[in-house]
Amino acid sequence: MAEELKEEELLEEDTQKGKFMTFQTGKEYFGISISYVNEIIAMQPITAIPEVDDYIKGLINLRGKIIPVIDVRVRFKMEPKEYTDRTCIIVIDVKSTVIGLIVEKIAEVDTIMDDDVIPPPTLGHHEHNKYVYGLARTGDTMKLLIDPEKLIKQDDMNMLETMQDNEE
Amino acid sequence: MKILLAEDDFASRKFMDKMLSQYGECDVMVDGEEAVDAFMMALEDEEPYDLACLDVMMPVMDGYQVLKAIRDIEAQRGIPKNKRLKVIMTTALNEERNVKMAFELGCEAYAGKPIDVEKFEKVLEKLGLL
């Protein structure tokens, strides 16, 4: 019986393996491994917090738990867009830090196997490159796969690096 | 020295038997009732044991019942306190209430498992058995 249980667990892991929640921002599609995703909720009233990085939009109340939300567009240094009916919040849990990602539009859940992932070009100056660990084509669109740990990591390190760069 | 060991668990029994055999002749019982029988038999034969090591959790009678039976029999036969059987409880139950009850029932020592052999020997010394 224990064996069966284990198989079930494996099965569950299997069903999550290679599954990506994809969303659209501007013209580009992004993917985030579904294992990080807790849930997707509609846009909510957000309480702004003063004096924080601009991509941190504020706090929302998720059934009594207060969690911060960040705007993915602003995070990628893209022009912010007005929120619409299609805007929603992907609640992710990265190493026990629960955070909401505001995205323009949810696309779908795609299966992307490891073999299909190609590393991103090392050249190029897109801001979002920092958070993208791979590219994958599904259907006729190219998906940029995001590393959520890097996405939610705050920019202290980067800032330090730039400061050092400037000094040189 | 004549030793009575009551222990139902095979592995523990093997260990205890080996340890106790260096101090004397060791009779091994596997449940509580056997232990009381062995104690009685030795009394009848006028070759009483010097030391009994009793496990607490055992079939038929537990270690506390054995201890109580031994002390009752001794009282009934008018055996003076300093002549009575030295009893060491050997068990994995280390809650204070267990220890306290064993003391109240009149054991000489209470050894938590796994047994600290060094201290065990010290106790045998203090009890005048070595």
């Binding site: 924080v52 830090t97 | 959790m57 809650e95 209430r97 029932l105 047994i115 106790v123 203090k126």
Partner: protein
């Protein structure tokens, strides 16, 4: 202590009881340190404490503790029996404390899992010497020596189990080759080989010896074993005969998984049986005292563990609760308070013409219950300050003796109760304040004091009281007092303050200089205070829990340091205000007043800083909407409301748009992902489910001053 309810291990009971006894002992000693001698009841108490410790340490076989406590017991035995006069009291106090320190340090070793190997011989020698002097004194005074205090050797012993390495749990599955003959016998050999190292061993199929058909099952399904042992994987594998095995699956699993597997095997786990380490038992239930016969084991069945024939009777009366559970209950009640507000202030109720009489009655009842519930959980978390104060007694005693000062400590209100979390935070700051008072507060020597017309003996008063939802803990000394001139000069020299004449500072402000980082009035750093980490750390620690430090002093007459701390951290009374679209919460206690002011009350400096003049006083003025860039807000002072806020004697005016309401606020932390914002201390959920930020007045003022 209700011993019959105790399910603690023998060792923890010993440690707990010894700690209690030593605490009691120190209490007596420190209370009577200044007396001329101990009275009969003290002597009796100390004798009994030592007697008990001697006995229990004897049973536990900690011989050095037994010897030390026996010696001290001896001394008090003679004092008790012969009542000699002229016992050198101070020396005796020191002896008792030396023994108490020795035992404490040994107990600490035991708590840390070390061997209590402290050498008691020097201490015992000292005590012996003291005892022989006492005996000599007794003879000299012509009192008959009592009978020897014969040490009765303990006749019962507890042998502690040796510290165990952690057990491993393995799941082992042996698949035999298809043509293996009598695989059941091979399986049995495997179990037999493992018995030597096994603490617990289960296997399936179970009937390998008695049922030959089990051989077929083993060939098809494999032979499953669940093993608890200290042996490593390699050692275990070596024991298993693998000659006919096709494969051996070997997994190390966690104790929890192991337990799970046992349940799957149809063996409801009896924790006492497999758990050799009773500390691992998660829930400590209260059981009635055990009885002989409770531990009779049903005859073992093959492959099954022991089951007790008689179920352990359970009896509910007193339970000890894990603090974490209390905290989560506290959180839940917080949620409940919020949910209550959501219901009672629901916008659906605001429909005009709605008949709400019954609803209001019911909601009043609900509010009453939630308030009561809050009070109950709060009271469960409340602890008296007496333990903390006890520590202070010892500090005063130690430090004053080392410094050669004669100081008496008066304690007032030690039964004042404070939330457990807060007690943990004030112990260190309080200790610092007390040390400061002994070291810097009280004069160097008695001559200075008598010259100033004061009693030779210094006095420090430690007082706690509970007033208006706050706890005041003050440390008061009748020493030198703070010299404003010196403080001013020092702060100026160290560049800690602006260069303006002393007359422009209020007294309170000058006293507060000592809390500035980098300020130490003492030129010579002493062992006990003035180590650079000083009052600034005290103030920071206190501010962290929402408290403050008040300082008053009179030169030549003494100083008083008062910690003002909240009773509890979790729920505050707050007023909800609105700035633009954003609600903010301001703690009611820090609001001095609300005023409407016109433009004429405003003074603007060329650098853009603004001030408000109110009844002749000038306050810094903060426009929250501008400071925090909040849209849709009043920009003119005429339309908004000015709130005068006070924190630690400093005042500031803040412009808001409107007042919403006052209510109890459940404080929640800002998620750590968001970095600390100056002037915001937390957040809360409002009745409509939206989130309001809680203003941190201290932080706001600090931020303003830095500009």
């Amino acid at each position: 202590m209700a011993e019959e309810f105790n399910t603690e291990s023998m060792l923890s009971v010993f440690l707990y009881e010894s700690d209690q006894l030593l605490e009691k002992l120190e209490g007596i000693i420190l209370e009577k340190q200044d007396a001329d001698c101990f009275d009969d009841s003290d002597i009796n108490d100390i004798f009994r404490v030592m007697h008990t410790i001697k006995g229990s340490s004897g049973v536990m076989m900690y011989e050095n503790i037994t010897k030390a406590s026996h010696k001290l017991e001896d001394i008090f035995y003679y004092l008790r029996e012969s009542h000699p006069e002229d016992v050198p009291h101070m020396e005796l106090v020191e002896k008792v404390l030396a023994v108490s320190d020795f035992i404490t340090s040994e107990l600490d070793k035991i708590k840390n899992g070390e061997t209590p190997d402290g050498d008691e011989s020097k201490l015992v020698e000292d005590l012996d010497e003291f005892l022989s002097r006492i005996k000599g004194e007794i003879k000299k005074q012509g009192i008959r020596l009592p009978k020897e205090n014969k040490q009765v050797e303990p006749n019962q012993f507890y042998i502690m189990p040796v510290a165990e390495e952690n057990s491993h749990f393995y799941r082992i599955v042996i698949h035999y080759k298809n043509d293996t003959q009598m695989s059941n016998i091979r399986a049995y050999s495997a179990t037999y080989a493992l018995k030597g190292v096994a603490e617990d061993l289960l296997y399936t199929p179970e009937d390998i010896l008695s049922n030959e058909a089990s051989a077929d099952t083993i060939l098809v399904e494999g032979f499953h074993m669940y093993l608890q042992t200290k042996a490593s994987k390699e050692e275990v594998l070596k024991l298993i005969d693998s000659s006919e095995a096709e494969s051996i699956d070997f997994d190390e699993i966690t104790a929890a998984e192991y337990g799970q597997d046992l349940v799957h095997l149809g063996r409801p786990d009896v924790p006492i049986v497999i758990n050799l380490d009773d500390n691992a038992q998660p829930a400590k239930e209260t059981k009635a005292a055990p009885m002989p016969g409770d531990y009779v084991v049903k005859t073992k069945e093959a492959g099954k563990g022991k089951t007790l024939a008689k179920n352990q009777p359970k009896q509910q009366s007193i339970i000890s609760v894990n603090v974490e559970k209390m905290d989560s209950l506290m959180d839940l009640i917080g949620e409940l308070v919020i949910a209550e507000a959501v219901v009672l202030q629901n916008p659906d109720l605001k429909v005009p013409g709605l008949e709400l009489t019954n609803f209001q009655k019911a909601s009043a009842q609900l509010s009453k219950i939630t308030t009561e519930l809050q009070e109950v959980i709060m009271s469960m978390r409340m602890m008296p300050l007496s333990n903390t104060f006890q520590k202070m007694r010892r500090i005063v005693f130690d430090v004053s003796r080392k410094l050669g000062k004669d100081i008496e400590l008066e304690v007032v209100g030690e039964n004042t109760e404070v939330d457990k979390n807060i007690i943990e935070h004030i112990s260190d700051p309080l200790m610092h304040l007390v040390r400061n008072s002994v070291d810097h507060g009280i004069e160097e020597n008695a001559e200075q004091r008598t010259a100033a017309g004061k009693p030779a003996k210094g006095k420090i008063t430690l007082e706690a009281k509970n007033e208006g939802g706050k706890v005041y803990i003050s440390v008061r000394d009748d020493g030198k007092g703070l010299d404003k001139e010196k403080l001013y000069q020092k702060a100026l020299d160290n560049g800690l303050i602006e260069n303006k004449p002393i007359s422009e500072f209020q007294d309170k402000e000058i006293y507060r200089f000592i809390t500035l980082p980098g300020f130490s009035t003492k030129e010579v750093v002493t062992e006990y205070s003035g180590r650079g980490v000083g009052m600034d750390v005290v103030v920071k620690n206190i501010q962290d829990i929402g408290g403050r430090l008040d300082i008053t002093s009179e030169l030549g007459h003494g100083s008083e340091m008062t910690l003002v701390i909240p009773l509890t951290l979790a729920i505050i009374n707050g007023i909800i205000v609105r700035v633009g679209d954003s609600p903010f919460v301001i703690e009611t206690a820090s609001i001095k007043q609300f005023v409407r002011l016109g433009e004429d009350a405003l003074i603007q400096e060329p650098n853009g800083e603004e001030y408000v003049v109110l009844r002749g006083d000038c306050f810094p003025f903060i426009r929250l909407n501008e400071k925090y860039e909040l849209p849709n807000s009043q920009t003119s002072i005429d339309d908004g409301i000015v709130v005068v806020l006070e924190h630690e004697g400093r005042q500031v005016c803040v412009l808001i748009d409107s007042l919403l309401q006052e209510q109890e606020i459940v404080v929640k932390p800002i998620p750590p992902y968001v970095k600390k914002v100056k002037g915001i201390s937390g957040c809360t959920q409002l009745g409509d489910g939206s989130i309001a930020l809680i203003l941190d007045i201290g932080g706001l003022i600090l931020d303003e001053e830095r500009r």
